[in-house]
């Protein structure tokens, strides 16, 4: 195998297809809107934003050599619009209230354990606390019956990855073709790639993949 940190789809940028028949007018409008998400809190308070941003950075750590997907901003926009799955399970509050309670509880747990809010922990401490949430090992009084494990599974691990993988940067990283209307695809068989799909760098063929990915229009 090659260098594991080398990009799987070198040079592939799904946005290069913006003006091709793979993107119709409504798709351009929707993606433009997502890329222009305001980078400041509109739903969250400043301290909620700080905690949410720190959680996002551990759930989806991003490489330093490209602009990050603005996860806290996308989460804030989602909560501002209040567009989610709608239902609440058992004793869980609805989405907005769950996030407000959950972020406060994370800081309260962090303060009780380490004497500092979550954003002030180092990344290993943050990961340890998130791991305890995931395994159901937090049962402080801060969770109001919601349950740290439920909050982790139903909100953190549902909302944050969902937002990351709604962003063209994530599509480029994983080699997803992205929008495909109206052009669609024609090479359906195993191992076949349409010229407007991402080319994967296989050992020895990295240069060719890079060249192909410059022409995915």
């Amino acid at each position: 195998m090659t260098d594991p940190s080398a990009p799987r789809y070198p040079g592939y940028d799904v946005l290069a297809k913006r003006h091709t028949p793979s993107w119709n007018a409504i798709t351009r409008k929707v993606i433009d809107h997502r890329l222009a998400v305001p980078r400041e809190p509109r739903f969250f308070t400043p301290s909620e934003w700080t905690t949410a941003d720190a959680v996002c950075q551990r759930i989806i750590p991003q490489p330093a050599d490209r602009p990050p997907v603005p996860l806290a901003a996308l989460l804030d926009a989602k909560l501002l619009a209040n567009v989610g799955d709608g239902f609440r399970e058992g004793d869980m509050p609805y989405m907005r209230e769950a996030w407000r309670q959950g972020l406060a509880a994370i800081d309260a747990e962090s303060a009780a354990q380490q004497g500092r809010v979550f954003a002030a922990l180092d990344t290993a401490e943050q990961d340890a606390l998130l791991g305890m949430m995931q395994r159901g090992e937090l049962s402080g009084p801060y969770w109001n019956g919601m349950g740290a494990q439920n909050f982790f599974a139903q909100r953190i691990l549902t909302d944050i990855p969902g937002l990351y993988y709604s962003h063209p940067t994530a599509w480029s990283e994983m080699g997803f073709g992205g929008p495909a209307s109206p052009r669609g695809y024609m090479r359906m068989a195993l191992g076949r790639r349409d010229p407007w799909e991402a080319a994967e760098a296989k050992p020895g063929s990295e240069a060719r993949a890079l060249r192909d990915n410059r022409h995915v229009v």
Binding site: I60, Y94, T158, A180, P182, G184, R187
Partner: protein, 547 residues
């Protein structure tokens, strides 16, 4: 740019959106609220949309209500996974039980056309014995309709919808050839076929409600792969593109962004019309008949929310069964990685199927299941990684890099009816001020045994073709049914074979709620088939003066 379909109703002032043209309109007949229309239909999906067209074509006056917006696919459907959340019913609901059902895209729709706007188009017939599952197979409840009659209407539905499917279907009694040729198999489907052959079971091309050749104003499928969302090229044969245009042409009126909150009954105990909210005001439409077609959660919710002095337990509920026997379908999967590039997102996700275990009774549990190939888009695929493997951090991003090499097979499995699984009313209120549904669900022992069997068989099939890093998705469900079941006995069912309620003769239910059992196949074709039969029966009853 056109108007926002959520902001204000589009179907009004004698016109409705033309779903086949950007910015287009078609004429629509408008009824006055004081007109006593023949049928007020609540919901415009597989049940209500079909019925609206077929009743209007028989000359009945019809007004069909939908709580959701009226989309024009060509201009409103972005090729984007997150944006398409707008097609789902995401109003407040409460879920509980030992296995709470996740509500959303897999089991709801809020749009003219209902969930058929975003369904995966899989159009399967029930196995004949399922219509007598109690008396023939020993579980569940019998349907009050003979399978031969259902198979006649299946054939009609397949022709009128324009299903693309195989020349010869491997399971069940002989059926006519599908009207449109089967689609080309994508690599995910070819691998499913290879896996089935490796373990010695049959497979076939999945009958799909997406065009493989031009039809009217619709073009054939372009294999975009955004198929569990709104189809932006109109290849998908949904209620929005098949039945609603026919309904309008035949003189029906469709009211979008119109949420029905209560059915009124008169001094004679019969339904007299519906209260609905549109443009921030509550209104009342008089009707000689009311049809509820809101699917297995909203239908019982409306019947229960319509309780009044005469019917304190809700309408059509003398049996006590409204809301009970809720069924979902098991939707577990096995996933794995292939050495070759699969690129599973190209084309409809379920191009190949095996129904082997629906027709093989050599099992130690009741019911059956099918499985189909998969091609989840990134958000859904990430949810599988987080939900089934608990991945996050670098581990999640690394796992997602294998996207173009993944395969998966996913079941649609039969779950058995149980009165404890049910829809009741919560004290939470929604944006209309109405009590929301509480949805309670717990898997039974038979359900669990069926799921385990399927996970083993599915795993065998992809292991046999060289999948590596396999893992199971053990906690997923999809379609719904059962909360207003049909039957032959008024004490043990809510409606009769004609979808007519036993208690109130001019109140009907026509959607997946009426299913006594859900079988191991996707329900949309059966819902449309039931609606076609019901429309025919209503015509016969009207001619006899028995409406």
């Amino acid at each position: 740019m056109s108007s926002d379909p959520f902001e204000a109703p589009r179907a009004s002032h004698g016109r409705a959106p033309d779903v086949f043209a950007t910015g287009g309109w078609v004429p629509m007949r408008a009824y006055r609220e004081q007109d006593e229309v023949d049928f007020a239909i609540v919901g415009t999906g597989a049940g209500g949309g079909t019925l609206a067209a077929l009743l209007a074509e028989q000359g009945f006056s019809v007004v069909a209500f939908d709580a959701g917006p009226y989309f024009r696919p060509l201009e409103d459907f972005a090729s984007d996974e997150a944006e398409q959340n707008k097609l789902y019913w995401t109003d407040k609901r409460v879920t509980d039980g030992a296995n709470p059902i996740r509500m959303g895209g897999k089991n709801s729709g809020k749009a003219v056309g209902g969930s058929t706007v975003h369904y995966a188009m899989v159009s399967l017939r029930f196995r004949p014995e399922w219509f007598t599952s109690r008396s023939t197979l020993g579980y569940g409840a019998d349907w009050p309709i003979p399978w031969q009659e259902m198979w006649h209407w299946y054939g009609e539905a397949e022709q009128q919808i324009g299903i693309a499917g195989p020349i010869t279907y491997p399971w069940g009694p002989k059926r006519p050839r599908y009207p449109y040729r089967a689609h080309e198999l994508n690599s995910a489907a070819r691998l499913l076929a290879r896996g089935c052959e490796a373990i010695g079971i049959g497979w076939t091309e999945t009958p799909l409600a997406t065009l493989s050749a031009p039809h009217g104003k619709s073009s054939p499928c372009m294999y975009r792969g955004f198929c569990r969302f709104g189809c932006s090229t109109n290849a998908k044969r949904s209620a929005l593109t098949v039945w609603i245009p026919r309904a309008l042409a035949a003189g029906a009126e469709v009211r979008d962004l119109a949420m029905v909150g209560r059915i009124e009954t008169g001094p004679d105990g019969r339904a007299s019309g519906v209260h609905y909210q549109r443009e921030d005001a509550w209104r009342f439409q008089r009707a000689r008949n009311v049809v509820v077609a809101g699917y297995a959660v909203e239908t019982p919710r409306l019947l229960l929310n319509s309780a009044n002095q005469r019917y304190p337990d809700g309408l059509a509920n003398s049996s006590g069964l409204v809301g009970k026997n809720l069924m979902t379908q098991s939707n577990q999967a096995v996933w794995g990685r292939m050495e070759e590039e699969v690129r599973w997102n190209k084309g409809p996700p379920s191009l190949a199927i095996t129904e082997h275990w629906n027709y093989d009774d050599n099992k130690d549990f009741f019911g059956g299941y099918c499985w189909m190939g998969q091609g989840p888009l990134p958000i859904e695929w990430a949810a599988v990684q987080t939900g089934s493997r608990g991945l996050w951090g670098e581990a999640l991003r690394d796992a997602m890099l294998h996207y173009n090499h993944m395969i998966g097979v996913k079941m649609v499995g039969e779950m058995l009816p149980d009165e404890a699984n049910r829809v009741t009313l919560s004290n939470d209120l929604d944006q209309y001020g109405l009590r929301v549904a509480r949805i309670t669900y717990t898997w039974g022992e038979n359900d669990k045994a069926l799921i385990q069997h399927a996970l083993v068989q599915m795993g065998r099939s992809i292991e046999a073709i060289g999948a590596t890093d396999m893992f199971r998705q053990e906690d997923d469900t999809n379609h719904l049914g059962g909360t207003a079941r049909m039957g032959a006995d008024p004490a043990r069912s809510v409606v009769n074979a004609d979808c007519r309620s036993w208690d109130i003769p001019n109140l009907w239910v026509c959607d997946g709620s009426v299913f006594p059992t859900v079988g191991g196949v996707n329900p949309s074709l059966t819902i449309q088939t039931i609606a076609m039969r019901t429309a025919s029966r209503i015509g016969i009853l009207a001619r006899r003066g028995e409406l």
